[in-house]
Symmetry: C2
Subunit: 317 residues, 2 copies
Amino acid sequence: MSLQFSDITAARARIAPHIKRTPVLTNEALDAELDAQLFFKCENLQAMGAFKARGAANAIFALSDADAAHGVVTHSSGNHGAAVARAAQRRGIPGYIVMPNNAPQTKVRNVESYRGKVVFCAPTMTAREETCARIAAETGAVLVHPFDNYDVMAGQGTATLELLEDTPGLDLILCPVGGGGLLCGTAVAAKGVRRAIRIVGVEPELGDDVAQSFRAKKRITIPTAPTIADGLRTSSTGEKNLPLILKHVDDVVTVSEDAIVAAMREIWERLKIVIEPSCAVPFAAIRAGKVDVTGKKVGLILTGGNVDLDQLPWQKL
Amino acid sequence: MSLQFSDITAARARIAPHIKRTPVLTNEALDAELDAQLFFKCENLQAMGAFKARGAANAIFALSDADAAHGVVTHSSGNHGAAVARAAQRRGIPGYIVMPNNAPQTKVRNVESYRGKVVFCAPTMTAREETCARIAAETGAVLVHPFDNYDVMAGQGTATLELLEDTPGLDLILCPVGGGGLLCGTAVAAKGVRRAIRIVGVEPELGDDVAQSFRAKKRITIPTAPTIADGLRTSSTGEKNLPLILKHVDDVVTVSEDAIVAAMREIWERLKIVIEPSCAVPFAAIRAGKVDVTGKKVGLILTGGNVDLDQLPWQKL
C-alpha cells in the first residue's frame, strides 16, 4: 500500500464539507521583479488557519464508526493538533492533543477553542510518541500521526488539486517540509495531474532532516532544531514518507533563518497576509537563489497563519 | 447628472483588465460568537493593496484620448495617490500625486513604485486643493478627485457587485467612510441589486464629518482629525457625495480609536490578513455594539492593507 492519486481525489470529496477552498494570490510587481509568475496558495486562510485542517479531516472522517468510537490522539507542535481537535469536534468524538511544552500560546489556545484535550510533554519526538502511546492505550483512541499517515498525506494533497485547477500550466511547485506529509501529498497530487510539474521541497537549514535523507536515500534523524519555522522542527521524516519523496519529489533545498524572516516580512508587506515563519520558507528559497524561477509559472503553498502578533521576528522588542 | 447603477456595471467592464477580483473571507468561530454570518470583501488584497485601484482606473480609462493627453493630477493621503499613479502608468500618461507631508513612508513608496510624480504639501484640505489646481494649470493635467467624482464612485462600487455575486442574500453592508466615495459607490451598487439591503457607513469619532453631515442633512466641515485611521482623515464629504448619501445610505455611525485598534488586531489574528486601521472601522462598530448583526448576513468592505510593519498600533515600542 502507498499513496495514490485516487486517494487524493477521494479525500477531496470526503473533506469538502469541512474545509474551505482557499484563494490563490498573485502580485504584479513581484512578478515583474522576478521575471516569473508566482501563485500563492493561501492555506493560511484555511479553516483554523492552516492546511493541516485538510489532512486531519480526511484521516478522521475516513475512520469507521467502530474505530472512531473512543476518539483520536495525536502529537503536534500546534497546527496539526488544532486540526485534529477541530475534525474530532465535527465528528463528535474526543480529540487528545499532545503538545510540546514550548508551543506558542496562540497554538495552544487554538487547540482548546475546538475543545481539544491538551496534554503537554517535553519537546522531543520520543516524549511525544510515548505520551501518545500511553493515551491510546488508556483510552482506546486512534493515533492520527501528523505526517506518517497516508490519509493525512492524501488530505494535504487536496490543496494542490485546487491550486492546479485555479492556475493551469504550472511548471514548478514549492512547498515547505517538516515531516513530509504536505510534500508527499503535493507531489502525488501534482504528478497525477501532470507528470512534468517539478516538485521542490524547502527546509530550514536548521531542520534539514529531509534534505539529508533525500540525498542519502535513507531516513536520517537529526537533533530537534531551534529554527524559527516552528512548524518544521521535525527530527526525521516518516517511514511511509521517504519512499514517496524519493519517487515523486525532484529536489529538496534549504534556507537560512535570516532568509526565512526576510521572506516572511516581504510576504506580509506585499501580499497583505499574515503567514507564520514556516510558510515563508519556499519564498525564501526563491529570494536566496536556491531555486531558479526565471520565466516559470510557480506555485507556492503558504501553509499557515498562526503567529503571536506581539512577537514579530523582524522587530527587536 | 448623478451616479446610477448602470454607471457601476459600465465601470466593471471598463476596469476588468486592470484590477483583481478579490476573495471574500469568512470565519466560522467569529460567526458562532456573534450569531451572525460575516463576509469580508478583501480589497486589501486588491492590486496596489486597496480598493482605490478601482475608482482611479475607472476615472482614468473613462477619459477621452484628448482629455488624457496631458496626464492626471490628484491629492491623496496615500492609497488613492498610488491608484492614480498606477492607472496613469497603465494608460501611459503622467500622474501627478499631491500628498500631505505626514503621509506614511509605505504609501509614498507605493506611489513612486508606479512612477507617480509626488508633490508634497501641508496636511490640510486647502493646501492639497491649491497644489492640485496649480499643477493642473501648469501642465493641463485633469483632476481626479479622490471621492467627489462620479467615475471614481462608480469604480469603487464595483467591489460591491462582486461581493453580492459571491454572497447572495446579504442583509447589511458596512463600509468605512472618509470622503464618501466608497460609501456612495457601495450604496448605489447594493440598492441597485436589491433595495432591501441596509447600508451603514462607519467613521472614526475623531473624523465624524459625514456622520454630522448625515444628521444635519448638509455638508459639515470639521478640523482635520488625528485619527489612526489615516485613510479617513477628511474634513468634509464632497458636494456630489452628500445627496447620494442622504438618498441611499441608511445610517452612519462612529467608533473610538481604541475600538479601531482592537478590531484591527482581531482581524489580523483571526482572518490572517494585513489590514490598515481605516478598514478595521466597520468591524469595530460591530464589536462596540454600534450595529446589531444578530441573525444577519453582513458584508464588510476591507479597504486596504498598506501599513508600516515596524509600527503596529497595538505595540508600545
